[in-house]
Each structure stands twice: as C-alpha cells, then as structure tokens.
C-alpha cells in the first residue's frame, strides 16, 4: 500500500506545485537556519578526545588570595603555579601526567635566504603525546630522560615540517630556535582537537601549537608564557627565579586516571598536598581542589559562546514558526481536497487509509525540505565563515559531518510529520458523504 500512497503523494505534489513548493521552502529554510546554528553548537560542544575523555583529568588547586576566590563563585584558579605543577609532576601519582604552557619561538632556517619566523610553541613534558593520543607521521615524542636531562629535542607540526624540510622525514635532523639547536624526534600528523581542551585559557578554538619542546628546557632558558598569566600576589624582586617561586598561575596540569578508585586516591593525594602547603604558609583558602574530566572541564569553562546559545534558541523558535507555517499550508491543502477525501471514504477507504496517505505525502515533503535544508545549512555555514572571517579559528567551527547531514534530514522529516499530524487528523474526520453534494 505504501507504494500506492507514495504515488498518490507525488501526484498530489505535482497537482499543487506552488503550495507544495511553499511547504518544502518553509521546512527547508527552517531546517537550514536551525541546523546552521546547531552545527556550530555541535562542533563547539563536541568531544575533542572521544576515546580518552573520561580518563584525562584537569587539576585545579586553590592556591589563591585568602581574601577572594580566583573566580566567582568560590572557584579555584583555572591554571596552576610553577611550584605546584612541578610538585604534582614529580610526585607521579597518576598513570601519566603532563605539565605544559603556551610559549613561542623564532625558528632560524638553515637556508640563509629564508628569513627567521616566529612559531607558536608548547613547552611540555613527555607524556603529552601518548596521553592526548597525538598522531605522528614520522618518529615519536620524547621520553622522561630527555625531560630530566634537559635535552634539546623538538616535535614539529606537519606544516612546519613542510616549510623547513619539504615534508620529508626530518627525524634526527636539527632545527635552530632562538640561537639554540634542537634535534627533531617526530612530526605530528593532522591533529586539531576542537575545542583545544588541554589549554582553553588561551583560546578554546585556536589551532594547536606549531612546535613542542621539553618543559624543563623551556624553564632553564627562562622562556615566559605566551598565554594567560594571573597573579594575586606580587612576585617580588629576583627576576625569573622569583617568578617561578611566585603565586602566579600560568600552566596547565593534566593527569590520567582510570576508574573511580584511582580518582578517589588522586583526590586524597591533592588534598594532602594542599595540607602540606598550608603548613608552609601557602594555600590560605579552605580546601577546594578540583579534578574534572575533559567534558566536565569544557562545561565548567563554558567553551560554548553565549552568542551561540542565544542564536540556538532563536533558531529553534525560527524552525517553530516555519512549522506553524507548514501546518497552515497543509491544512489549506487538505481542506481544499475535502471533496476528494469524502469520495474516497464513500468508496470504502478507511480512516487509517486516509491517514496513511497524507502522512506519506507529508513525509515526502519533509524529505524534500530536508534536502533543501542541508543545502541551505551549507550556505549558512559559508555565510558564518565569511561573517567571522577575521577570526582565524572560524574554519574549525563551520565543518559539517555526516552525522549532521543525517540529523538535518531526519529533523526535517520528523518536523514535517509532526506538522502533518493535525491536518491529517482533520482529513480523517471528514465524513464520507458530507462533501459529496458540493462536488
């Protein structure tokens, strides 16, 4: 029977091209507007490390000013101090742990004709690569011994390798940065977690850094942070040493823990650490340490912009208006065909048959609207990309994957069926003979 209804539906769409086109357009525009924003929200609130997000924990220690919290309401600072970061690192109480901060370097190419250029860099410890599941094209990261012995090694991003070595395997070759020579241990393949979860304090949707080198080397060379630094207490005279020993927070600490037991043990360790610091006169605030896994941390940091949420609300309302419109149009269409329906009922069609017929027709319209909607979503995302073009990261947010395309079509069909419910119900209630006399 469905095939027969499909045929009837297509016939009816052909008989009322203007009305049908209007319905398809209303659904398509609604879906397009809605899915454009949903897509951006979906990308922004996506899971950047799907396989490991529940074993990676971001550590916060409340080392802040006794007189006021780092962030309202009573939240500890987002980053950690050098003192605390290195203490947690040396304790090695997790399966793996990584301490890192955003820095920058100037690369001096071997070729004297090429000008030196600046790159974004991450000063980090060895576990960064296995912990965050970083893919390599060539070589690998470095080990603990390089960290401990201040060995000048570097991991390059794909683009920098392209620029310096023409994309061939550079492992074992050297790169000069700020006058120092570093040995290349590996090259990272395409990798751009969105959001950039491991450092949301410095642009949650920025690209990952272009080069990576040991934290210990970076500290020894007195390379300051190129990211956010917050201090509640003066650092005092004494230059770099004084800064390292200060209460300024400027680095991120992540730990890998499996299961509730390890989580609990680690939390106990953090609290004990805080108590030990209290004994030294630091950590004057009440105990307030936090361990968030990746998705909890993304929520805590509210990485999805308010603007996107406002737009999302408006877009959903927009879709509702489009659906109200569709309901009205379908109602008009069905009422116009009251005579038809009466005749079919009089000839023996059951209510169920009428219902199926019009629902199938609405489904077809929904499908067409969905396809149009996917196309309009693509245009919508292009529009957003142009509108926000000066933000370098916008390209990271306007990608559409198969899940979203599928979701758009399903949403369109569901919306169309939902819109069709009332008009179809009205159609079923038309009495077999009532309309015949006016035919």
């Amino acid at each position: 029977m469905t095939r027969y209804y499909l045929k009837l539906g297509l016939l009816s769409i052909r008989n009322n091209p203007v009305l049908s086109a209007l319905m398809v357009a209303a659904i398509g525009v609604g879906i397009g507007a809605c899915m454009t924003i949903v897509n951006i929200d979906y990308v922004m609130s996506g899971n950047p490390v799907p396989h490991r997000s529940d074993v990676l924990y971001h550590v916060q220690l409340d080392s802040w000013d006794p007189n006021k919290p780092a962030n309202e309401p009573d939240k500890p600072p987002d980053q950690v101090t050098y003192l605390d970061g290195t203490a947690l690192l040396d304790a090695r109480k997790g399966r793996r742990q990584v301490l890192s901060y955003r820095s920058g370097r100037v690369i001096q190419p071997e070729d004297p004709d090429l000008r030196p250029f600046e790159v974004t860099a991450r000063s980090t410890t060895a576990d960064f690569f296995p912990m965050f599941d970083v893919p390599f094209i060539y070589g690998e990261g470095w080990g603990r011994s390089e960290d401990d012995n201040l060995v000048q090694v570097v991991v390059l991003g794909k683009e920098i390798n392209e620029r310096l070595f023409g994309g061939v395997n550079p492992v074992g070759r050297t790169v000069v940065m700020n006058g120092d020579t570093y040995r290349v241990t590996g090259v990272i393949d395409d990798w751009n977690p969105i959001p950039k979860f491991y450092d949301v304090s410095n642009g949650a949707f920025n690209d990952v850094e272009e080069v990576y080198f040991p934290f210990s080397v970076s500290i020894a060379k007195e390379i300051g942070s190129h990211g956010n630094t917050n201090c509640w207490k003066p650092t005092g005279e004494g230059g770099w040493k004084a800064f390292l020993n200060s209460e300024c927070v400027w680095m991120q600490f992540w730990v890998e823990l499996h299961g509730a037991d390890e989580h609990r043990v680690y939390m106990t360790f953090l609290d004990a650490y805080a108590e030990s610091q209290k004994a030294l006169g630091r950590f004057e605030r009440p105990l307030n340490n936090r361990l968030h896994d990746v998705m909890e941390w993304m929520q805590d940091q509210e990485v999805v912009e308010d603007d996107v949420q406002v737009l999302l609300g408006l877009a959903v309302l927009f879709l509702i208006v489009c659906l109200l419109n569709t309901i009205g149009l379908l109602l008009a269409k069905i009422m116009r065909r009251s005579g038809d329906i009466s005749l079919r009922r009089a000839l023996g069609a059951s209510r169920g048959a009428i219902f199926s017929q019009y629902i199938v027709e609405a489904g077809v319209i929904g499908l067409c609207g969905g396809l149009l909607g996917v196309g309009l979503t693509w245009f919508g995302l292009k529009g957003i990309e142009i509108l926000y073009g000066q933000f370098d990261f916008v390209g990271n947010l306007v990608r559409m994957d198969w899940i979203m395309i599928f979701a758009a079509i399903v949403l369109a069909i569901v919306s169309a069926l939902f819109a069709a419910l009332y008009p179809t119900w009205r159609a079923c209630r038309i009495h077999p003979a009532s309309q015949l006399k006016t035919l």
Binding site: F243, V321, L324, N325, I327, G328, L387, Q390, Y422
Partner: protein, 403 residues
C-alpha cells in the same frame, strides 16, 4: 465596523487563525529580543577608546638571539621612526586599547597586603605617550624624561610616578576625584606611585572587562622579550607609512623579527567582530522571519478568500460595496494579528527575563515593545492587502453560480 460578526466567523473556523496568531506571537518575541540584543551590541561598539584611532598603527619587534640588546634597539628604532616624515610621534609600549592582551595590576590607596586593590590596565610609555596616543591631559603634567626608567624582564619594580584616566581617579578616590594629582596609590601591595597627571579617557585592552575605562600610564620601557611600537601619523600618511616602518625595522637589525603590523582601525574591527557579526545575523534572522510570517498570512488569507468566494459574491449581491469587502478582510487580519501581537508581547517579555538571567543581557527598553507591535500590524495589513483586494473584486454574480 462589524467586529462582532467577524469575531464570530473567526471562532467558527479557528484553527487557521490560531496558527497565524501563534506565528505572529513567536515572530514578535524573536523580533523584540533580537532588537534588544542589537541595541546592546551597538551601544558597546559606540564606546570611544579615547585614542586617535584613525591615525595610529602598531607593530611588534622580538629579538631572538642571545646578544640582542633591548635598550639599544628601542632607542635606535624610536629615533628612526620619530624622524620619518609624516610621523607625529611614536613610543615603545606593551599594548593598545581593544587589542585583547595587556597587563593589569591592582592599585590601592593604602599600603598593605589585606587592602582591597582595584584592577587597572597598565600602559608602559615614555614622555611621548600622550602625544602618540592622542589623549587629553585634563590635570597635572606629562611625564618628564627624568621620570622614565628601564625595567628588565620579570622584574617586579615600578617607577614612582603615573598618569591615570578620570575613571581610575573616580574609582580610587570616589570622594575627591577632581583632586588626585599629587596623591599616592600603591601597586604590588606597598610600592608607592604618585599620580602626576590625569587624562580624560583611554580604554584598557579588554573591551569586555567591567573596568575597561580604568587605565594608567607608567613611565617605563619594559623588556618583555620584545616590544610593541605604536606610531601616530599625520592624517593621510598612515597607510603609506605602515609597510615602510615595517620594512625599515626588519632591515635595520637582523637579530629580531618584526610582526603583527596592524592599524587601530583594523584592531577595532577585529575587537568588535563578534558583535558586528551578531548584529548582522540577527537582522538577517528577523528579516527572514518577518518575510516567512508575511508569506504565511498571504497564503492563509488567499485560501480563506478562495473558500469564501461564494459568500463574498452573496454579500456583494446583497449590496456590500467593494471597500466593505476589502475592509472586512483587513479588519479580520487586524483582529487576528492583535491577538498574536498581544500574546507575542507577553512572550517577548518572558523570553527577555529568561535571557537576562541566563546571559547577563540588559533588559529591553520599554519602547521596543510598542514599536514591534506597530511593525507587525503593518506587516500583517500589508500582507493581507493583496488577497483582500482580490476578494473585493469578486463579482456579485458569483453568488448565483455553483461553486
């Protein structure tokens, strides 16, 4: 006119009209709230930064070799830039308003660790700062060459003088904001800074910061691994000087790189990009929505005219004039719209209350609601005019024919 009969006719066939009224209500709610957001963003974008934006550009110089000499390079660079034809003045500083990155420190009026400090944005400059930024000195004096100090990277030391904005003075000394010259404030808990001058206005580098109007000029050259040169030009010289200065700096010393060349005009654009984009998006959404609602009204009105062709003919035959038929449909739409608009006004206020709580928006100005109502009445009447006119053209003779 015939409100009673129209109303009773509406009630006999209410679904279609309820649909239209609902559409109008939701459209109204979206429209009013979107306009409120647009107004708020526009207000933020209108705030002046206080500096001569049209004629200022800046760029960053970063030394990357171990023997790069920060002091020598700053001295040489500033002398070179200041002597270029078309340049009004130039300084070495840390940031500019609207840039997004900068330095803030807590200032307090009494020394001591337990005293609440007020966050103030710090701009490092020499005696050319006022002239380069083009800010107005309203009290006290400019820095003297003898005030200026050289400060190393990671040092915690502050020069003992400073020039503050009026807003900084208002916040620190609420009792006597007119009389702050000569007063002392403390930075880093206990390092005294004497206020020597007050400037009218100069925003901090973070446009969304609640203390964006609180800044202080500090007389120092600070080595931060590099420095930022801010250059003010004679009107009309900026675009020509930008690449020229960049090239001269890059060529004069190969132990550093020069990057981040940008004009203040572009900085403002980038800084408020999300606001201007949001405004455009909202305007687009509201226009599209109004168009869709208008089309919905046209569609349903056409349908109802088509269905009532015979009734209209009958009325015409019984003596109703064309304007009377036209008036009937216009009035009908007016009544349906009014229901939707009133419901929309309630919905709009409810939505606004929620958005104010959820997103810290400012509440809507009262007059947006009547304006929104007026706009939607006009849209409704305009949309229904076509079908209504067609209805009025139905000849009386239709009444005598079968449908």
């Amino acid at each position: 006119m015939e409100i009673g009969p129209i109303w009773r006719a509406l009630l006999r066939n209410k679904t279609a009209y309820i649909l239209i009224a609902l559409q109008i209500a939701v459209t109204m709610a979206i429209m009013v709230n979107a306009v409120a957001i647009i107004q708020e963003r526009a207000r933020l974008m209108e705030r002046p930064s206080g500096i001569d934006e049209d004629n200022i550009f800046y760029l960053t110089s970063i030394g990357f070799t171990p023997d790069f000499d920060f002091r020598d390079s700053v001295k040489a660079d500033l002398e070179m830039i200041r002597n270029l034809p078309g340049v009004v003045d130039a300084i070495s500083t840390n940031t500019v308003p609207l840039e997004g990155g900068g330095w803030s420190s807590g200032l307090q009026t009494e020394p001591g660790e337990d005293i609440e400090a007020t966050g103030v944005a710090m701009y490092f400059t020499d005696e050319h700062g006022l002239d380069t930024f083009g800010v107005n000195l309203v009290a006290g004096r400019n820095f003297l060459p003898s005030d200026i100090e050289w400060v190393d990277q990671n040092s915690d030391r502050w020069p003992p003088t400073g020039i503050v904005t009026q807003e900084t003075a208002n916040t620190l000394f609420p009792d006597s904001p007119e009389d702050v010259v000569g007063k002392t404030v403390y930075v880093n808990d206990d390092q005294p800074v004497r206020i020597v001058g007050v400037i009218e206005r100069m925003q901090a580098a973070w446009k969304s910061w609640s203390g964006v109007e609180r800044s202080m000029l500090v007389p120092m050259y600070r080595d931060a691994g590099g420095t930022r040169y801010v250059v003010r030009t004679e009107p009309g010289y900026r675009d020509e000087l930008m690449p020229q200065v960049e090239e001269l700096l890059a060529a004069s010393n190969n132990e550093r790189i020069v990057r981040g060349l940008m004009s203040m005009t572009e900085t403002r654009q980038r800084s408020y990009l999300s606001d201007s984009a949001m405004i455009k998006l909202l305007v687009f959404i509201v226009s599209l929505l109004t168009a869709i609602t208008g089309l919905g009204i046209v569609g349903l009105a056409s349908f109802s005219v088509a269905r009532r062709t015979r009734q209209i003919g009958t009325r015409r035959a019984l003596g109703a004039s064309r304007p009377a038929i036209l008036g009937y449909f216009m009035l009908e739409n007016f009544m349906v719209s009014s229901v939707g608009i009133l419901a929309g006004a309630v919905l709009a206020v409810g939505m606004n209350i929620w958005m104010v709580q959820a997103f810290d928006l400012t509440p809507i100005a009262w007059y947006i609601i009547p304006l929104g109502m007026l706009a939607l009445w006009i849209v409704g009447q305009a949309a229904v005019y076509g079908p209504a006119r067609r209805a009025s053209l139905v000849p009386p003779a239709v009444a005598t024919r079968a449908a």
